[in-house]
């Protein structure tokens, strides 16, 4: 029997902020084109873990990892890996929409321009494709040159998703992508995640348990730096194996 190929894997991953042991021996394997939600109380390590997948933690002083993070079976902490190349492959969307103070169009093609792509037709094609993917095209197609800051919060977040998609990643990391949005915008982003998983592998950190239920195929529950439970979302939300998971998802924690 051939060994199953996973899109993302962590093997015996430990992470430290100086002397603080933030992630403790994490092992996880995520399949391609699935949505995995990371849940857990504040400070449990879920965002730290998410950021190890595109090495966003590298900038933090005193931060170090042990163990392996594999993307398509390649260790992304290997010395030969170029971080800029890695980030093309692994896009990221943050909690607060953070468009640049530039036009909508410039925001979407920013990454491509940095990569040296200048041809107008290529940039335009990429802008339309990703804005469509982010379900924003119809709302902005007539005002691409307007400032991105004039968009609503929900639109700005979808713009940031379009920007992340422009460099054609295969993985999308989302750190509480809807927590700063109103319910309608949240629903739009959630629908978008549901659509995007047809093409991308998505990992989402969320504080909102209902959101994890609605959007994800798999859920991982973290507690004090440990991965307590990882299973299909259906299974976790109907019959969690660990008492800590049960207490957390039913709101009886602590």
């Amino acid at each position: 029997m051939s060994k199953k190929e996973y899109k993302l894997e962590a093997k015996e991953l430990n992470a430290y902020y100086g002397g603080f042991h933030a992630l403790k021996g994490i092992n996880i394997a995520m399949e391609e084109k699935t949505v995995t939600a990371f849940i857990g109380p504040s400070g449990c390590g879920k965002s730290t873990f998410l950021r190890t997948f595109n090495r966003m933690n590298d900038y933090i002083e005193g931060f170090r990892v042990e163990g392996e993070i594999l993307l398509d079976s390649r260790d992304i902490y290997d010395k030969k890996v170029r971080v800029d190349e890695l980030r093309k492959e692994v896009g990221m969307v943050f909690q607060k929409p953070n468009p640049f103070p530039k036009s909508i169009f410039e925001n979407v093609v920013y990454g491509l321009k940095i990569q040296g792509i200048k041809k107008k037709s290529v940039l335009e094609e990429a802008a339309e494709r990703t804005l469509r993917q982010a379900a924003l095209w119809d709302e902005v197609k007539d005002k691409l040159q307007k400032s991105a800051l004039a968009l609503s919060g929900g639109q700005q977040q979808r713009l940031c998703i379009a920007r992340a998609l422009a460099s054609q990643p295969s993985v999308l990391l989302m750190d509480e992508p809807a927590s700063a949005l109103d319910p309608i915008s949240t629903a739009k982003v959630e629908e978008l995640i549901y659509e995007l998983k047809k093409e991308y592998t998505i990992v989402i950190v969320t504080h909102n348990m209902q959101q994890a239920g609605r959007v994800s195929d798999y859920t991982a529950f973290f507690y004090i730096g440990e991965l307590v439970e990882y299973s299909k979302t259906k299974a976790m939300f109907t019959s969690p194996k660990d008492t800590r998971t049960q207490n957390y998802i039913t709101g009886r924690f602590g």
Binding site: A187, E191, G213, R214, T238
Partner: protein
């Protein structure tokens, strides 16, 4: 289509699939009674297992839906109604199976005269038409048609109430047919139950669409609502 609607649609599709299997069981049980068709009775009994699997599957789908989508308002009522319709469909399937087991005990088909006198066929046809009408209003909701299903149960109750006398007199006139009479009475009782179960289903459909609770209400109140 929003993700939640896709899941609700899947739930409805699964319930309708089950509905059709139970419909086949019910129609076949009627044929089996009239023709003493033992091959058909075996088929109906065998399908019971399939219906049980639907029952478990739909329960599980509803459980998952509650856990993952935290439904409210009409979505919540749809899933609650689905759970109860599922249970009633499973019971109707069981009833059809029960009738077939009685047929297996009968030595010959129920005679036309006796079937007519006891109004067995009339009952069966009414129960079947109620069942079909309920499926129709489940798919395309029509408030009036749903309430019509509730009213139709009256006839089944009426025939059932009178059937004991008819069958008692048949048995006293035909001492050799006591066993047949008892079996027939049991079948009639079961069809009357089907009427009640379809009524429950129609009440759940009204609850789902109109948010009105019809169960345990007097006939008069039901007519008013």
């Amino acid at each position: 289509m929003p993700h939640i609607d896709i899941e609700l649609e899947k739930l409805q599709e699964k319930l309708l699939e089950m509905w059709d299997v139970v419909d086949y069981q019910l129609v076949s049980s009627r044929e089996a009674v009239l023709n003493h068709d033992l091959e058909l009775t075996r088929k109906v009994v065998k399908l019971g297992k399939k219906v049980n699997r639907f029952d478990v599957k739909i329960d599980r789908q509803c459980e998952n839906f509650f856990a993952l989508f935290n439904p409210v308002a009409v979505d919540l009522r749809q899933v609650l109604a689905t759970l109860k319709i599922n249970a009633n469909l499973e019971r109707i399937g069981d009833t059809a199976e029960g009738i077939c087991r009685i047929v297996e005990k009968l030595k010959e088909p129920v005679s036309k005269e006796l079937a007519e006198e006891s109004r067995l066929l009339e009952m069966y046809d009414k129960a079947l038409s109620m069942f079909t009408a309920a499926r129709k209003v489940f798919v395309t909701y029509d408030a009036e048609a749903a309430r019509e299903v509730l009213k139709q149960d009256k006839l089944l109750n009426k025939i059932y109430r009178k059937s004991d006398k008819v069958i008692a007199s048949y048995m006293s006139e035909n001492p050799e047919g006591v066993e047949t009479g008892l079996h027939l009475y049991n079948i009639i009782k079961k069809i009357e139950r089907v009427g009640d179960q379809v009524t429950n289903i129609a009440e759940e459909i009204i609850f789902y669409h109109d948010a009105k609770v019809m169960k345990h209400k007097s006939r008069k109140k039901k007519d008013k609502e």
